[in-house]
Symmetry: C2
Subunit: 122 residues, 2 copies
Amino acid sequence: MAEKNLYDVAYELESAMREHEDYTKLKELYDQVNQDEVSKKLFDNFRNMQMELQQKQMTGQQITEEEAQTAQQQVELVQQHEVISQLMQQEQRMSQVIQDINKIVTRPLEDLYGSPEEDAEQ
Amino acid sequence: MAEKNLYDVAYELESAMREHEDYTKLKELYDQVNQDEVSKKLFDNFRNMQMELQQKQMTGQQITEEEAQTAQQQVELVQQHEVISQLMQQEQRMSQVIQDINKIVTRPLEDLYGSPEEDAEQ
Ligand SMILES: [Ca+2]
Ligand SMILES: [Ca+2]
């Protein structure tokens, strides 16, 4: 068999991901949330808050008690929303798939540089 | 054609990367540097310094003038080392390949969440 071009295989992986059930389900739920004005706004607010808090944590800033409370309230709010909570569960499933895929395709580099886990152990 | 399993394609991508000329060259140079004690030490020191400075930048810490000077000296030192400088050039080539591959395989998620570039423009 002739050696397949690296980029051709990458495009194959892209297609396989689009056809993967975890992706098609995610897309369905995501569209469903975004097509409804109320749920879109709820979800967008939640995401923005999450990103702000992550940003703060990454840059070592303190999260205030008020911010933590607002965050907790927003989590409870989106958890009560049927479609959004389904979407978030589906995002977790997709995230696991992507982590698995990432582990596979980064092994050639790990063989040279070691894995992040190995580094953490040292 | 039967639908290929996502993970099978990921393993194919792993193999294709290992066979890619930019990877085999990188591995060759990397082994060459690490098999020589002097060049290994020079390269390791350089890498550790780079990581420390990156860490500081990411966490918003100031880089002192002394650190900047030491860094500059180390860059000059490794640039004069024939094999290490070849290795670093090869790392840049490989890094470009990986960026390209990454762009391709993350498109399904970009279609849902937008690309980082798009976000930056907003
Ligand atoms: Ca390893
Ligand atoms: Ca897009």
